[in-house]
């Protein structure tokens, strides 16, 4: 009886320490973000600190933010999703084709169409569904066929891009609904870009779902110990499928945002989206081994490379240095994660 009690106390203390360490991990990367902002601001206040630049930073972060939120869920379950960029391309192509067909100008591959909000809504739903379908396939293969996530998503990464190229013949669909481009892509609501609002809403919803609901708790449980999760009655397979589907859906949403922003599909682009989001998630303190992580950390992780790039361009630092700096920051982030682990073991 008394032994149980001490165990309990010990556990409580450990979790407190753990929490502090966790805070340190996300804390230092947040600190780094603040330092970067302060340094760039101090060096070029009227350029880096301009309202215009801050708005652009937020817009540039928006698409990655949505993708990285999905990736956070997947990585917390100790999985990985390499297919996000290709799924984005696939969803954008399918959605653009559907909107073009519905607006009755299937021949056009240039300019904009007069499609109304109804057609745009169908396009959005198509993109979400296309993304969710790839996600569900990823999840099913990981959970039921028990193929490692790295392999599954490497496979679907190629398949999704391949199908996108088959559907379009490799030529970008360049006719987007005018309304979507002006009101979503470059539109503002209450002075805030719509793309940023979408990203913010996604982050808030995903954050609440992960940190405050039973589903979120299950996601952590599956990631930290799958077997323990199963024995305590969590339907692990279903949860995994749900998480990957969610990640696919965020890629679908990101596809809508990309279509609206660029005014064209970008088949040749988004090649680095998977690595960018994975490094953002890891920078944000989410463990690649699963069971730990937060949406807030990911938000910070997304901004680091974007601010680095922006600051370096404004300062006129040679382009290669940005690549070097980004790599160094990533390694430092994981190193701190390891230190944390060692400290925990010692305690």
């Amino acid at each position: 009886m008394s032994e149980q009690a001490t165990n309990l106390v010990y556990h409580d203390r450990a979790s407190l320490e753990e929490r502090l360490l966790n805070l340190l991990a996300t804390g230092w990367i947040f600190l780094l973000l603040l330092v970067l902002v302060a340094v760039f601001y101090a060096l070029r206040p009227e350029q880096f600190g301009s309202a215009y630049n801050i708005q652009q930073l937020a817009i540039n972060a928006a698409i990655f933010m949505v993708l990285a939120v999905g990736q956070t869920y997947v990585i917390i379950t100790a999985g990985i999703d390499l297919s996000v960029g290709s799924v984005l391309v696939f969803a954008s192509v399918v959605s653009a084709k559907v909107m073009l067909f519905l607006s009755g100008e299937p021949g056009t591959t240039f300019g904009t169409t007069e499609a109304g909000w109804g057609i745009v809504a169908v396009g959005v739903l198509t993109a979400l569904a296309a993304g969710a379908a790839w996600g569900a396939l990823n999840g099913a293969l990981v959970a039921y066929a028990r193929i490692p996530a790295l392999i599954v998503t490497l496979g679907t990464m190629g398949m999704a891009l391949g199908f996108a190229q088959i559907i379009t013949g490799g030529v970008d669909v360049r006719a987007m609904p005018e309304r979507m481009v002006t009101h979503i892509g470059s539109g503002e609501l209450l002075g805030i870009p719509v793309l940023v609002l979408i990203a913010t809403a996604t982050v808030i919803v995903a954050g609440i779902m992960l940190h405050l609901t039973r589903f979120g708790l299950h996601v952590y449980a599956v990631g930290s110990n799958e077997e323990a999760g199963r024995r305590s009655g969590i339907r692990v397979h279903r949860r995994l499928v749900a998480v990957y589907t969610l990640c696919g859906m965020t890629a679908g949403l990101a596809a809508v945002m990309a279509n609206a922003r660029f005014g064209t599909t970008t088949i040749g682009g988004h090649v680095m989206a998977n690595l960018t989001t994975i490094s953002a998630v890891v920078l944000g303190g989410t463990s690649l081994f699963g069971g730990k992580g937060s949406v807030f950390g990911t938000v910070v992780g997304v901004f680091i490379p974007i601010i680095l790039l922006n600051g370096f361009v404004i300062l006129g630092i040679p382009p290669f240095w940005q690549t070097v700096a980004m790599g160094a920051v990533l390694i430092a982030a994981v190193w701190v994660d390891q230190l944390k682990r060692r400290l925990r073991k010692r305690s």
Binding site: R44, P45, E46, Q47, F48, G49, S50, Y52, N53, Q56, I59, N60, I63, F110, Q165, G169, G170, V171, D172, R174, G185, S186, A258, R261, F262, G263, T264, T266, I267, G268, G269, H270, V271, M272, I306, L309, N310, G311, F312, V313, I314, G316, P318, P319, F320, T323
Partner: protein, 315 residues
């Protein structure tokens, strides 16, 4: 609370002071390349840097990680925030780059494109281009000459969507009409991936052992095609004409694996860009399009090849 108010007031003050200043060093020019680490763009950069120094321009060069619109747009946004007098941009997509570049122009920077261009040119000061269609036609003529006007020919190019590459292929195909002895096997796509280009060549040779000639529309395709020919033991027998003059291509030309190059002059493009930028700053207006040269270099002209080789001699 009071302290906070003072701080806030100071911050607001700083902003208010900062806004009207907006000044960078005078004669500031930004150059945004198509991608990092490409010999072509680095040579262009060298030409620009040389000329900028001569003309007293403050040049800042930046480049995206990949030749892709989604990666380049943030770079253009950052240049917009820096608000230079003139921006010279290699747009990586003819449509996706329109909104950020228009914004750049609207915020008072004079914008021009080099090497590539965009679909809406209304806000551009000028476009520095080469005639890619003419280049493609030159390639067809060179190949026809090498083959004595007969044989099967293959094109290796990028997937459709890149204006320049599409124009080179179109020019080549149009010129083929004038050479009825050449049998066209069509275009195959590599995605800036030499490995793919090599596979295309080896499997085409399997299907058509009498393949006589190849036209590769860029350096990556050419490097891969040469590898494929070597692998199939057909280097030198199958005649090759390639666009561009990267170091690998020039050495292949010298050792007989490649028979002719259609070379641009990136250094000249960079120099012209800076000359035009200086003219813009001086308030002069420019023609809508400024063409820079393209030349055919055959294997008996090694010195010419060296002169046109894409080398970043300033780094």
């Amino acid at each position: 609370m009071k302290l906070r108010l003072i701080l806030a007031a100071k911050l607001v003050g700083a902003f208010a002071l900062a806004v009207p200043v907006q000044a960078q060093a005078d004669n500031s020019v930004a150059l945004v390349l198509g991608t990092k680490g490409s010999p072509f763009y680095q040579a262009l950069q060298c030409g620009a840097m040389e000329k900028a120094e001569e003309l007293g321009l403050a040049l800042n060069v930046s480049a995206p990680e990949l030749f892709a619109a989604d990666v380049q747009v943030p770079v253009v946004n950052a240049v917009t925030a820096a608000s230079p007098d003139v921006a010279v941009i290699v747009p990586t997509d003819m449509q996706a780059l329109i909104p950020p570049m228009r914004e750049l122009a609207e915020r008072g920077t004079q914008v021009m494109t080099v090497d590539q261009t965009i679909a809406d040119t209304s806000f551009l000061e000028t476009q520095i281009l080469t005639d890619n269609e003419a280049g493609g036609a030159m390639a067809a003529q060179a190949l026809s000459e090498l083959l004595g006007g007969e044989g099967k020919v293959l094109v290796i190019t990028q997937p459709p969507g890149s204006l320049a590459q599409d124009a080179r292929t179109a020019g080549f195909e149009a010129e083929l009409e004038n050479h009825p002895g050449l049998e066209y096997l069509g275009a195959q796509y590599q995605r800036n991936d030499p490995q793919r280009a090599a596979e295309i060549v080896t499997s085409t040779i399997s299907a058509h052992p009498d393949l006589a000639g190849i036209f590769a529309t860029n350096d990556q395709g050419a490097i891969g095609a040469i590898t494929g020919l070597r692998q199939a033991d057909a280097a030198g027998r199958v005649k090759m004409v390639a666009y561009d003059a990267s170091s690998a291509q020039v050495s292949a030309l010298k050792n007989g694996e490649l028979q002719a190059l259609i070379a641009q002059n990136p250094k000249q493009q960079g120099q012209v860009a800076m000359e035009l930028a200086a003219q813009l700053i001086a308030g002069e207006s420019l023609p809508e399009i400024t063409l820079t040269e393209i030349v055919t270099i055959t294997s008996d002209e090694p010195e010419k090849a060296e002169r046109y080789e894409y080398i970043a001699d300033c780094m």
